[in-house]
C-alpha cells in the first residue's frame, strides 16, 4: 500500500489508485482535525521546507498547518528577501537547503515545470508541487475532489463545470485531469478568449460559452478566480463586462430547476466571477474546501514521507 510516485508533481502523473489512496487517507486525517488535540506524531523526524517563489495565503498556510499537525519540522522560504534576488539559481538554492538535512520540499513557482525540473535533479527528495505557473496545482484538485465526494458521495458520473479563465488556470488543468481519471464528466465554460481551442480533443471535455446552459447541465460548478495578475493582454474588455456575461449570480441559480454545488478555489473576487450572496450561500462549499485542504495536504505529506526509504 503506497503511492506509485516519489513526488507529487501533478495529477497527470498519478494513477487512479494513487488518487483513491490520498482521498481515503485524507478522510482519516479529517477525523484527526476534529479531535480535542488535532495533532499526530507521524512525521516527528521529518523536516520540510516550504519554498514559495510566488505569493500565496491559503496554500502556504494550509501546507504549514498540515505539516505542524503531522509534527514535522518546517522552514519557510519566500523568494523575496532571499539570495534569489542576488541571482542564485533554483537548483543551487534547493541544494543548499537540502545540505542542511531537509527531507521534503513543498514548492510554488511561477514557472510551469519548475517542480518537474527539481525532481529530475533530486530524485530522492520528495517534491510537492504547490502550484507551478499555468501548469498544475495538484493538492487543490485533490481537495476539490474530496469536497465533491463529501457532498455527492462519488465523482463517478458527476457533471462538473469549471467556469472562467481556463487558459491561465493551473487549478483548471489539475481538476480536468483528476475528474476525468475518476470518471466525472467535465465541461469548461467561459469566454472563448479564455478557453484554448484544443482542450476539447486534448482532454475529452465539453466546452460551453453560455453560462446559463452550463449551469443547467452541471451538478457542481467550480468557479475560478479571474487572475488579474496574469492578464497581460486584454482578453475581455472589463471586469464589469465579465461579471455581466460570466458572473455566477443568485438570479441565475434561482432560474435552474435544481440546486447545484458552488465551489471556488479562492481568493474570491466578489462581484466579478461570483456574487457575494452566492459565495456566502448554503449551497456554496468554499470554506469547506479550505478546511479539507489541510486534511488532503496531510495525506500527501504522510504518504510521500512514508515512501522515502521504502
Amino acid at each position: 500500500m503506497q503511492l506509485s510516485t516519489n513526488h507529487l508533481l501533478g495529477i497527470k502523473e498519478l494513477s487512479i489508485e494513487d488518487i483513491s489512496l490520498i482521498l481515503s487517507t485524507a478522510q482519516q486525517f479529517k477525523e484527526v482535525l476534529q479531535r480535542p488535540i488535532k495533532k499526530v506524531p507521524s512525521l516527528r523526524d521529518v523536516t520540510i521546507v516550504n519554498l514559495f517563489y510566488e505569493n500565496s495565503t491559503r496554500t502556504r498556510i494550509s501546507f504549514e498547518l498540515a505539516e505542524k499537525r503531522l509534527s514535522a519540522d518546517t522552514i519557510n522560504f519566500a523568494a523575496s528577501g532571499s539570495s534569489v534576488s542576488k541571482g542564485e539559481t533554483l537548483l543551487d538554492t534547493v541544494n543548499n537547503i537540502l545540505s542542511m538535512k531537509v527531507d521534503m520540499v513543498v514548492m510554488r513557482h511561477s514557472a510551469s515545470g519548475a517542480p518537474h525540473f527539481l525532481s529530475k535533479h533530486l530524485p530522492h527528495t520528495a517534491i510537492i508541487n504547490a502550484g507551478d505557473g499555468i501548469n498544475e496545482h495538484p493538492t487543490q484538485a485533490l481537495l476539490d475532489a474530496f469536497s465533491i465526494i463529501e457532498h455527492a458521495g462519488t465523482l463517478d458520473g458527476k457533471k462538473v463545470v469549471i467556469i472562467g479563465d481556463i487558459m491561465h488556470s493551473r487549478v483548471a488543468l489539475s481538476n480536468i485531469y483528476l475528474l476525468k481519471k475518476m470518471g466525472a464528466e467535465v465541461m469548461l465554460a467561459g469566454p472563448p478568449t479564455l478557453i484554448p481551442t484544443y482542450v476539447k480533443e486534448a482532454f475529452g471535455v465539453r466546452v460551453e460559452y453560455n453560462l446559463k446552459k452550463a449551469l443547467q447541465w452541471c451538478d457542481v460548478a467550480n468557479v475560478l478566480r479571474i487572475q488579474l495578475e496574469r492578464q497581460n493582454q486584454v482578453l475581455f474588455s472589463s471586469l464589469r463586462e465579465y461579471n455581466l456575461a460570466y458572473g455566477v449570480t443568485r438570479k441565475l441559480l434561482e432560474e435552474l430547476d435544481k440546486e447545484i454545488l458552488i465551489m471556488h478555489p479562492g481568493p474570491v473576487n466578489r462581484g466579478v466571477e461570483i456574487d457575494s450572496d452566492v459565495a456566502d450561500s448554503r449551497q456554496s462549499i468554499i470554506l469547506q474546501q479550505v478546511e479539507n485542504g489541510v486534511a488532503i495536504r496531510m495525506a500527501v505529506l504522510y504518504l510521500l514521507a512514508g515512501k522515502k526509504e521504502g
Binding site: 500500500m1 482519516q28 486525517f29 477525523e31 480535542p36 507521524s42 521504502g310
Partner: protein, 169 residues
Amino acid sequence: MQILLSPQQLQLAILRLAHHLTENYESLAAFVFIGIQPRGVKFSDKLVEAIRQIRPEQTVLYGVLDITFYRDDFRGELHKANKTDIPFSIEGRNVVLIDDVLYTGRTIRAALDALQDFGRPKKVELCVLVDRRFNRELPIQPDYCGKAIDSIVSQKVKVEWEREEVVLY
C-alpha cells in the same frame, strides 16, 4: 497449523471476559471500551455485544481507535489508515483497550499515545483475546486475557472470524 481455540472455546472465552470486565462494577458509566483497528475491532464488537447482553440496563460506551498515524515503523511499511470513532469524552474515565492478539506490545504503545489526544483517562486497562507471552518488546501486559500461549517469532497467530477459530500457523 494448530487450533488454539475452537469455535466453542472462543465463544466461552469472550463470555468469560465479558463477565470478568463487568463483575466488579455496579455501574459501567465510568467505563469506555475501545477496540483497536482493524482486527481488534472484530473481537471488541463481539465482546461489547456480550457485555450489553449481560447488562442490558446499562449504557455501554464503545468506540474504535486507529493507531496508524502513531506507529513507530511507518518508514518500513505504510499501513492503510482506518476510521477512528470515539464520539464521547474519555476524560476521567476508565478505558479498556481491546485487541485480538498481544505480541510485541508496539500496537498498544501506539494506542496509549493516541488515547492521550482524546483526553486524560483515569485509568487504562488492556483486554486481549490471545497473549503471546515471551515475545514482548516493550513492558506491556494484559489485564484481561482470553488465552495465553507460548509461541516463537516465526509462528503466526491468527483469529479466523469466519471459522470462529484461533489458529497458530
